[in-house]
């Protein structure tokens, strides 16, 4: 058990060292979300006057959605590192060592989680500077981070599993884009539920991206329905655990293909 945890820690440390060598990577991952947040926030400033919006600023409304969307993209790319490791023969080297697949995946997910937290805090900070108010304060921010982290973990696992199954960057990019945009638009990321067409509202109830944005928005704005929040945090946790488990199974498929 302790070997499983310590080796996972060393795997995380490997990613962190690579990250520390090119910290501008963080800036690159934030360029798009910041543009979405500030540009959309200002261009559609007046949209909050529509009935159905409960917030005073669109940036404040948008911020939790952008936090979640950024986590989706950023975790979606986590499989790219696996494809590189496969091409380089690094993964094969790890797979003939006594380290467990669970530790390899766990270490990667821990790193991806840290990156998600960092990005989320920066986006929330920028939103706050641009005039968003988060009435939910500390507990609201924590709940938003937790929901984002769980969704990010599920998505990183999806990406890692695909990397092991497909072993090609192009296909991985296509499969990630195939999910991120539709899931984002079939949710309350940009519009409140009351203003969404009926069929989208129905679908969004089954959309984990919607759960994460709802939980984050409710908690940040201090209007949490705690029944909804706890149920959907639990669902997100289940989803994350299931995806993480399935991604460790993908090692078996990888071994059979090579």
């Amino acid at each position: 058990m302790s070997f499983a945890v310590s080796s996972a820690g060393h795997v995380s440390a490997r990613y962190l060292r690579a990250f520390a060598r090119q910290p501008y990577y963080l800036a690159v991952t934030l360029v798009q979300p910041v543009i979405w947040l500030l540009l959309f926030g200002h261009v559609f400033e007046r949209v909050v006057q529509l009935p159905g919006f409960s917030t005073a600023s669109y940036i404040g409304f948008l911020a939790p959605g952008i936090v979640v969307m950024t986590a989706l993209f950023s975790n979606g790319w986590s499989g790219m590192a696996y494809v590189t490791d496969i091409d380089r023969g690094v993964l094969d080297r790890f797979l003939v060592a006594p380290v467990r697949g669970g530790s390899l995946i766990g270490g990667q997910l821990a790193y991806a989680g840290l990156l998600t937290l960092l990005q989320s805090l920066i986006i929330l900070g920028l939103g706050w500077i641009s005039g968003a108010s988060f009435a939910g304060a500390g507990p609201g921010i924590l709940a938003c981070l937790l929901a984002t982290l769980l969704l990010g973990t599920a998505f990183a696992s999806y990406s890692n599993a695909l990397a092991l199954l497909l072993r090609k960057q192009e296909t991985l990019i296509a499969m990630v884009n195939f999910l991120v945009l539709p899931l984002t638009f079939l949710s309350v990321t940009f519009m409140p539920s009351a203003l969404l067409p009926g069929w989208i509202r129905t679908l969004s109830a089954y959309n984990p991206v919607d759960w994460a944005v709802q939980v984050s928005r409710q908690c940040l704005s201090g209007t949490a329905d705690w029944g909804y929040v706890s149920l959907h945090l639990a669902l997100l946790a289940l989803l994350a655990a299931a995806c993480a488990y399935l991604s460790t199974r993908a090692f078996g498929a990888y071994r059979r293909a090579i």
């Binding site: 070997f3 310590s6 080796s7 060393h10 440390a13 490997r14 060292r17 690579a18 060598r21 490791d85 380089r88 023969g89 690094v90 094969d92 080297r93 790890f94 797979l95 003939v96 060592a97 006594p98 380290v99 071994r255 059979r256 293909a257 090579i258």
Partner: protein
């Protein structure tokens, strides 16, 4: 430090088989039959070479024996452990240097060595000592603190071997360790590998180079289409071939028909012969007596010879007799 043994502990385990594989088969999804009943065995403290052309199945054999992938049928014990039922124990007992350089490019050599140790449960001062020792043995020197991306091919290969040795393996797999190295780097690598075997390690080496298998290995096997077609020491394999090997360089590259016609009349000419790019190679029962007859026959047929030599069979002749094609000609395809 320079005299430190690289494999402390391995020698004290006494003699035993490094690898014992029986009837390994493996068909890839898509239907390529990469292994068709491959069997081999050799003891610890020796070097065994798998020699074969591209696609022969050498890397597949390494993947199966190192527990990376599973065979469809057949089985093997590596360092005494079963690759299927005791995969974990096999992993702890082996070091693997795969065909592709497998260092993490974005980390330093030292960080690579440390991570490798951690993945085997090593840590602290013990791991550090071990890594320092390997830096010394493979003469990596200061380079070890640079990012691997900046390494030359030869240095990357040395790092690969250091990485493969971190866990003090008893059996080391080297998949084409010297492909792409310059002659100096190759000679240095050969020296390191023989030293490892002298210290008690069992080494399975794959190679394209006849010369490498000839010089470095205690025993070797020729692999073709997923099977071993010949196995023994280099000398045994050469002695199995009757007679001597004759090489003649023909002036003006005459057409094969006329060469063949001239040879038809000669006694004691064995079946293994090849004629390519002006070079006629043949095996004869007794070189010194056959050579004059050969020269006379060719002369009579109007084929002129610019040089001639007689030698004991080489590994290339062994290869030719077992696979029906000359090794070097095959390599160029």
């Amino acid at each position: 430090m320079t005299n430190a043994t690289v494999t402390a502990g391995a020698a004290t385990l006494g003699p035993g088989l490094a690898i014992e594989a029986v009837g390994l088969t493996k068909t890839y999804p898509g239907g390529v039959r990469a292994l068709r009943g491959l069997s081999l065995q050799f003891p610890l403290g020796s070097i065994f070479a798998l020699l074969g052309p591209n696609g022969a199945g050498k890397s597949t054999a390494v993947k199966v024996l190192t527990t990376l992938s599973r065979p469809d049928s057949g089985g093997a014990r590596v360092a005494g452990y079963d690759i299927l039922s005791e995969a974990e124990a096999v992993r702890r007992a082996i070091g693997v240097v795969s065909q592709k350089p497998a260092g993490d490019l974005d980390a330093t050599g030292w960080e690579n060595l440390m991570l490798q140790g951690h993945l085997y449960g090593l840590a602290g001062a013990e791991l550090k000592r071990r890594a320092e020792q390997l830096v010394e043995v493979l003469s990596l020197g200061e380079v070890v603190n640079r990012i691997v991306k900046t390494y030359s091919g030869g240095t990357q290969r040395k790092l690969d071997i250091a990485i493969g040795l971190v866990n003090r393996p008893r059996v080391l797999f080297l998949d084409e360790p010297t492909t792409g190295l310059d002659p100096d780097a190759r000679a240095e690598m050969w020296e390191t590998i023989s030293r490892l075997a002298r210290e008690g390690l069992g080494v399975l080496l794959t190679t394209h180079y006849l010369e490498e298998a000839d010089q470095l290995s205690d025993r070797l096997a020729i692999v073709d289409h997923g099977e071993i077609v010949a196995e023994g020491t280099a000398d045994e394999l050469k002695h199995e071939l009757r007679g001597d090997s004759v090489s003649l360089q023909l002036t003006d590259e005459p057409p094969p028909d006329s060469v063949e016609a001239a040879l038809a009349a000669i006694d004691g000419l064995l079946n293994d012969r090849s004629y390519e790019a002006g070079w006629l190679r043949a095996r004869v029962d007794n070189g010194p007596t056959a050579l004059p007859a050969l020269l006379a026959a060719l002369d009579g047929a109007g084929v002129r010879v610019s040089s001639a030599s007689v030698a004991r069979p080489s590994l290339d002749d062994v290869y030719l007799s077992h696979t029906g094609h000359a090794y070097n000609a095959l390599q160029e395809n």
